[in-house]
């Protein structure tokens, strides 16, 4: 397996979606390739970092406005 092919499998590998055959091939390649192993570790970090992204929260006022819509609908 060449490195380009290994990298192409890495996202599915991280998600646990590779067939057992492809998993074995990739892991065999990784065992002998420090570059691809490093790249995989970096992709894993990327996914974890993305999981920690948080966006600006809504102001209390904006939340209250929406709750008011909810309240009116429930009452009607």
């Amino acid at each position: 397996m060449v490195c380009r092919a290994a990298v192409a499998l890495m996202s599915d590998y991280i998600d646990g979606r590779l067939s057992s055959a492809d998993t074995a091939r990739l892991e065999g390649h990784l065992a002998g390739c420090p570059h691809c192993s490093e790249y995989l570790a970096q992709l894993r970090v990327s996914v974890i970092v993305l999981g920690r992204v948080s966006f600006d929260s809504l102001s209390d006022e904006a939340v209250e406005d929406l709750v008011a819509v909810f309240r009116q609908w429930q009452a009607g």
Binding site: V2, C3, R4, A5, V7, A8, M10, S11, D12, D15, R17, H35, E38, Y39, A41, Q42, L43, R44, V45, S46, V47, I48, V49, L50, G51, R52, V53, S54, F55, D56, S57, L58, A62, V63, L66, V67, V69, F70, R71, W73, Q74
Partner: protein, 211 residues
Amino acid sequence: MLAREVVASDTVAAADDQIALIERLRSGDEAAFAELVRSHQPAMLRLARGFVASQAVAEEVVQDTWLGVVRGIDRFEGRSSLSTWLFKILVNRAKSAGIREQRHRTARGDADDSELSGGFDAGGAWVTPPDVWAEDAEDRIVAEQLAARAREFLDALPPNQREVVLLRDVEGLTSRDVCEVLGISEGNQRVLLHRGRTRVRDALTAEMRGR
């Protein structure tokens, strides 16, 4: 440390939580609705923004979506998760709004990704091997700094890739749910996710290089 595991019991607990939440919403529990708003609004805005030209229109789309949620919660059958259902309403409204705006969507994420990651030679081997930084990123302080920048990296992605990465890796929806929300095939979703993650990795590499 950065490690995070999802165990099977999390899924069962989450399903039970969802049933309880839906019941609370149907009975008019305002605190439950406020929590739903707080937990989803930021991602909804991000997602809408990728389909329409302006922040103002994105906010209208989100507002419109909440109306749809409020009106539809009684009829929601729970076949998909609440989040999936909600995001699907949003995407439908955002697409309609985008069409109404007659926005020319050229590069929606099929940008050329061939120059990413140093590239490979004709034989498929690395031209330039990746910098070594993954272990350094496990330091707690570095991890926090990277997470702060990750929002920008997400925003810089081509829209098609950003939508998938946002829903999968930021919001944690399953791949099946993401396909349902965005109306794309599994194969398409996997390619977009891989490209998006690769671009984020490239951005993190540049970030770590500059340290």
